[in-house]
């Protein structure tokens, strides 16, 4: 069964129709409300961006996701993306294992390199090392989750000797990882090499390009021995705005589109809709467009929608999420299940990963003695 969800960039953008810009506090509260609305609407996933500069608020994704985890019961929590380049992989290992425990395993993450140049020097890195950082940091991250004690040295980080990342992953199973890249073949290769997921955030891109990147990932997945190409784990982005009558949707959304920070003042709404997944119209138009995505990329596992962009007010975003949940996603779930080969897997979840690992096992690493009391703890086992 496919997963459907929403992802947010976390931008603080003025509403062009009123000129009002939310505060950071309002935006953060809105992101929480959006996540809860996604669960209430029957969606499967909420993913947050990670940014370290205005006008974006989510610098601390696991804080946000931990808070959301406490207020939801079913929603899968993810990122879009976690900066594998400028974050310390040790801190990623720790933060997301901690989140796994708090969220009962409802956690995966999408790694990306980030597209804001100065973030690299702000975090002591060099943007020219972007791909090299993504490769080395992820190789270390994998070891930190899979090996209790790690000795490591590399190019971009201080060496580690006798290091144990705590807490150990929940039930001994690391969170599933997606690799997000729009145009870098090496990242698709990285996802294929490890048998991880590949997310193509195609929201600005023609389907021809998306299909070519996904095809590369699928071919390399098979090459690396993870199974037939159509068993690879693929995710796509998308953007929609819906009203019962399509002309109402266009009229309401156009003022937002025309001045949006990313595409405003560029292509027209009509041009952009023709060449990207942006669909502004009736729920049925959205269903038709997204039911056809698999014709280009094959049966896939995760569809995330960007709903809270361009300064749309929160109440409108919540309304749109409700429409997604009531009118669009149930139909898409049904239509995309038709003709989906039985051997095409679902996106991995904590439960499926635990089952694949032969069951849960607690990974707690007990120190021989703690240096506060000097006494050895008594293991629970």
């Amino acid at each position: 069964m496919m997963q459907f969800g929403v992802f947010t960039v976390g931008d603080v953008t003025p509403d062009p129709t009123t000129g009002r810009t939310p505060t950071e506090g309002e935006r953060i509260a809105a992101m929480v409300a959006i996540a809860k609305a996604a669960e209430d609407a029957g969606l499967d996933v909420f993913a947050t961006g990670e940014h370290h500069n205005p006008p974006f608020v989510p610098s601390s994704p696991t804080t946000l996701l931990g808070y959301i985890a406490a207020q939801t019961t079913r929603l899968q929590l993810s990122t879009a993306t976690t900066l594998i380049t400028t974050n310390d992989p040790v801190k990623i290992a720790e933060d997301y294992a901690m989140l796994q425990h708090l969220a009962g395993g409802r956690v995966d993450l999408m790694l990306g390199r980030g597209n804001t140049g100065p973030v690299y020097p702000w975090f002591g890195k060099d943007i020219r090392d972007g791909v090299a950082l993504a490769v080395e940091n992820y190789a270390l991250l994998r070891r930190l989750w899979r090996e209790d004690v790690v000795d490591w040295s590399g190019t971009h980080r201080t060496p580690l000797q006798s290091f144990t990342s705590t807490p150990r992953p929940l039930d001994g199973v690391p969170p599933f990882v997606w690799h997000g890249s729009i145009r870098t073949p090496q990242i698709a290769e990285q996802a294929a090499y490890y048998g991880d997921g590949f997310f193509h955030n195609n929201i600005f891109w023609p389907m021809e390009h998306t299909a070519a990147m996904v095809d590369l990932y699928r071919r390399r997945w098979e090459h690396h021995g993870h199974g037939p190409a159509d068993t690879a784990i693929v995710g796509l982005g998308g953007q929609v705005f819906m009203r019962p009558r399509s002309q109402d949707a266009v009229a309401e959304f156009r003022p937002y589109f025309d001045v949006a920070p990313v595409y405003g003042h560029g292509p027209s709404l009509e041009e952009f809709m023709a060449t990207t997944p942006l669909t502004v119209g009736s729920p049925q138009q959205v269903i038709d467009r997204y039911a056809a995505m698999r014709d280009d990329v094959g049966d896939y596992q995760r569809q995330l929608f960007l709903m809270d962009h361009a300064g749309l007010p929160l109440e409108v975003v919540l309304e749109q999420i409700a429409i997604l949940g009531e009118e669009v996603v149930p139909v898409l779930r049904h239509e995309l299940a038709v003709g989906r080969p039985a051997h095409v897997p679902d996106a991995p979840t904590h439960a499926s990963l635990v089952a694949a690992a032969g069951g849960a096992h607690d990974g707690t690493v007990y120190a021989p003695a703690d240096d506060v009391t000097g006494a050895s703890p008594e293991p629970v086992r």
Binding site: V131, A132, V135, E136, A139, G154, P185, Q186, A188, E189, Q190, Y193, F204, W205, P206, E208, H209, A212, M213, L216, R220, V262, Y263, G264, H265, G266, P267, E271, F272, T275, T276
Partner: protein, 208 residues
């Protein structure tokens, strides 16, 4: 057909802003002259001409959104696969036009590196003649194109009469075309660029 006898791909880019334009006239003359010079040297050539203004909106769109339309993507790939390029621009305010800079800014990395390029320009009077050498040549130097020694500038008066100006333009066109063909003939056909080459990943992975 062996790889060495496969026709070399020449892309002629006319950045004229009007239709018809004197820039296109010069581009066509250069294309014809390059064809003649190539034939004289038994070099098979496959030429196509692109009006850059047809991509003007898409260039701006890609600058703003980061993504090309399918039409622009195809054009950028065409340039990135060319064995030679003829680039002709109007001279505005002492330099090539902004649209030309947009194109160079948006071409994939290495698209023009090592590629022979013949540059041409048009302007109202001969007083703009050196703009090509002072502006377009260094821009293409930055992207490591191999720019033919002669740049061809055509002033409006060069298109008129049978006087010195017109004959001089014909001579300069032919000389520059021969220079471009020599540069192309001295190189192997351009290897097909694979945009989905993933070799960099395993290099970076090392022993990990």
């Amino acid at each position: 057909m062996t790889a060495s006898s496969a026709p070399r791909r020449l892309v002629v880019i006319s950045a004229g802003l009007r239709q018809p334009s004197s820039t296109r006239l010069l581009a066509d003359r250069l294309r014809d002259a390059v064809g003649t010079a190539a034939a004289a040297r038994d070099l098979a050539l496959e030429a196509s001409t692109v009006e850059l203004r047809e991509h003007a909106r898409d260039l701006t769109g890609m600058l703003l959104t980061g993504a090309p339309t399918p039409a622009l993507d195809a054009f950028l790939s065409q340039v990135a696969g060319a064995d030679a390029v003829v680039l002709v621009t109007p001279i505005y305010s002492g330099a090539y036009t902004g649209m030309v800079k947009d194109l160079v800014d948006l071409l994939p990395a290495e698209a023009l590196a090592g590629v022979p390029v013949l540059i041409g320009g048009t302007g109202g009077t001969a007083r703009h003649a050196l703009a090509l050498d002072h502006t377009l040549r260094p821009l293409l130097g930055h992207v490591r194109a191999v720019v033919a020694p002669s740049a061809v500038f055509a002033a409006t008066e060069d298109f008129g009469g049978a006087g010195e100006g017109a004959q001089s333009l014909a001579r300069r066109v032919d000389r520059a075309a021969r220079e471009l063909v020599e540069l192309v003939a001295g190189r192997p056909p351009r290897a097909v660029h694979d945009p989905f080459d993933v070799s960099g990943f395993t290099d970076l992975l090392g022993d990990a």
